[in-house]
Amino acid sequence: MPLITTQAEEENDYSLVASLDNVRNFSTILKAIHFREHATCFATKNGIKVTVENAKCVQANAFIQAGIFQEFKVQEESVTFRINLTVLLDCLSIFGSSPMPGILTALRMCYQGYGYPLMLFLEEGGVVTVCKINTQEPEETLDFDFCSTNVTNKIILQSEGLREAFSELDMTSEVLQITMSPDKPYFRLSTFGNAGSSHLDYPKDSDLMESFQCNQTQVNRYKISLLKPSTKALVLSCKVSIRTDNRGFLSLQYMIRNEDGQVCFVEYYCCPDEEVPESES
C-alpha cells in the first residue's frame, strides 16, 4: 500500500498514530455512544476515550484501550480534540455498514497535533479510502464525581435480560424510575406513560443477576429521553453494571466483547430528574 508507507516517515512527530486490522473493533464501540453529533476524543498511551454529552445531565464514555490496536503511539501525555462523531462514523464505515464474512477493513488513524485534521486511511480488498476530518477546540467534559466509595447500590446483570425492557420502554413516560433495594422489589424499572404505569421487576436471585449488592432502598427518576440512547450500548454488551450513589446519580457500565473476543467498556452517567421520597415507590 504505497499510499500508507510514505506517511510513515512523517509520522514520527505525530501526536497520535493508531492501526487496526479490523476497523469494526473501533467503530462498533463508537456507535454505542452516538447520540449527539459531536464527541471529545481523549488519548493517552493507555488508549482512547471518546465522550458524548447531552443537556449537561448525561454523559457517555467509550474506552478503547491501547491493546485493541495493532499499533498505538501517543506522543504527548495526552491528546484531546473535538470531532463530528456522525462524520467519523460515516468515514469508518465507508466500505459498508454490514460486515461481509471474511472481509476485513483495515484502519490507520493519524493526528498530527493541535489544529490539524484527523486522518483516516481505510483499506479493503486493495481499495484505499483517505479521510481528512477537521477537528475542533476540545470542550470541558462534565465530571460527574462518581466514585466507588459513595456507591450505595450495585447490581450486575446479564444484558440479554434488560434488552427487551429497554427496547420497549414506554417513551410517552417522561421518566424512567429505577428502584434498587435490599428488600422487595429488589430491582424495578418503572414508567408512567399515557397508557398507565408499568413496572418490571428483577428478583435478586434471578438467573440474570450476576451480582446484587444493595444496602439501602433508593428510588430515582431519570429523564427517559436521556437514557434511551444507552439501549445501543446495551444491545452490544454481554453484561451491564448498574450503580447509584448517595446523590442518586446513575452509572451504567457495559462490557462489550468485540469480534476478536477482546473486551471494551462503555459507561453512561446520568443525574436524577428529581428527588422521589421513598414512601411514593
Partner: protein
C-alpha cells in the same frame, strides 16, 4: 401501428425481467422504442446541468420467439411509447414461472401495452394473467429528441471496479455531500472524491485497466480527468446495477461522465452531466 411479441424460453423471460427491473430503478418514466430488430429504453433529460440520460438497447431476436411490428408508417417503421417503468417490472413479477409471455399494443379505452402471462399450475392446467400497462404514444415530431446519443469525446476511458464497492462507498459519501468528483487517468486509476468544509474523503481504485482510446496518444497517463456530478444521480445508477455487468467502462470528460455497460447481451449507456 401494431406490435405483438412472445417469449417462450424461461431464461429469456428471466433476463427480460431483470432488464425491466434495472430500468425501473434507473428511470421512473421512460420511452420505449420498438423497431424491427431492437427494443430501446430511453431516458432523455433536457436539464442542462446535472441531469441524466439513458439509452438501453436489446436485440429482439435474443429474447422473443415471435416478434411482429408495424410502425407509424412505411418510411418510419418505428413505434415510440412513453410508460412508467415500474408498471412493466411489476407486471413481469408475475411471470416468474410462466410458460409464455405475450406483449402487444392494444387500445382498451386508452392505449396500452398488454402483457399476458400464461402460468402453469400444479395440475397442469394453465391460467392467464393479464396486465394492461397504460402508455402514451409519442408523436413523430418528438422522435428527434429520443435518438441514439452520439458518444461524446472522452478525456479518459477506464474499466470500472466492482460496482458493489462503488455502491457502498457512494452510499456513505452521500451522507456527507451532494457533490461528488470522479477522477480517472490512463494509468488505470479512478478516484471518487467529496469535499466539504468539515471533511474530505477520497476513495482510490487502481489497476483498473483502460480500454483503447483514440485521443489517448498524447495524454500524460498520470493526468486525471475530472467531472463534478450530483452524487444522488450516481447512487441511483449504481442501485440499478444489482448484477455485475459483463463489461463496464466509464468515460470521463469535464462535461459529463458516460457509463458504457453490457449486461450479457443488453447494452446500457448512461450519461450524467456535470454540475455547472
Amino acid at each position: 401501428m401494431k406490435f405483438r411479441a412472445k417469449i417462450v424460453d424461461t431464461a429469456c423471460l428471466n433476463h427480460f425481467t431483470r432488464v425491466s427491473n434495472m430500468i425501473a430503478k434507473l428511470a421512473k418514466t421512460c420511452s420505449l422504442r420498438i423497431s424491427p430488430d431492437k427494443l430501446n429504453f430511453i431516458l432523455s433529460d433536457k436539464v442542462a446541468s446535472g441531469g441524466v440520460s439513458m439509452w438501453c438497447e436489446l436485440e429482439q431476436e435474443n429474447f422473443f420467439s415471435e416478434f411482429q411490428m408495424e410502425g407509424v408508417s412505411a418510411e418510419n417503421n418505428e413505434i415510440y411509447l412513453e410508460l412508467t417503468s415500474e408498471n412493466l417490472s411489476r407486471a413481469l413479477k408475475t411471470a416468474q414461472n410462466a410458460r409464455t409471455l405475450k406483449i402487444k399494443l392494444t387500445n382498451k379505452h386508452f392505449p396500452c401495452l398488454t402483457v399476458s402471462i400464461e402460468l402453469l399450475s400444479a395440475s397442469n392446467s394453465s391460467r392467464i394473467v393479464t396486465h394492461d400497462i397504460p402508455i402514451k404514444v409519442i408523436p413523430r415530431k418528438l422522435w428527434r429528441d429520443l435518438q441514439e446519443p452520439t458518444i461524446p469525446a472522452a478525456e479518459v476511458s477506464i474499466y470500472l471496479p466492482l460496482l458493489k464497492t462503488m455502491r457502498s462507498v457512494v452510499e456513505k459519501m452521500k451522507n456527507i455531500s451532494n457533490h461528488l468528483i470522479i477522477e480517472a487517468n490512463l494509468n488505470g486509476q479512478l478516484n471518487l472524491k467529496i469535499e466539504t468544509e468539515l471533511v474530505c474523503v477520497t476513495t482510490h481504485f487502481k489497476d483498473l485497466g483502460n480500454p483503447p482510446l483514440d485521443s489517448s496518444q498524447n495524454r500524460d497517463p498520470e493526468q486525471m480527468a475530472e467531472v463534478h456530478i450530483d452524487i444522488r444521480k450516481l447512487q441511483q445508477f449504481l442501485a440499478g446495477q444489482q448484477v455485475n455487468p459483463t463489461k463496464a467502462i466509464c468515460n470521463v470528460s469535464d462535461k459529463m461522465v458516460h457509463f458504457d455497460l453490457l449486461h450479457e447481451d443488453v447494452s446500457l449507456q448512461y450519461f450524467i452531466s456535470a454540475l455547472s
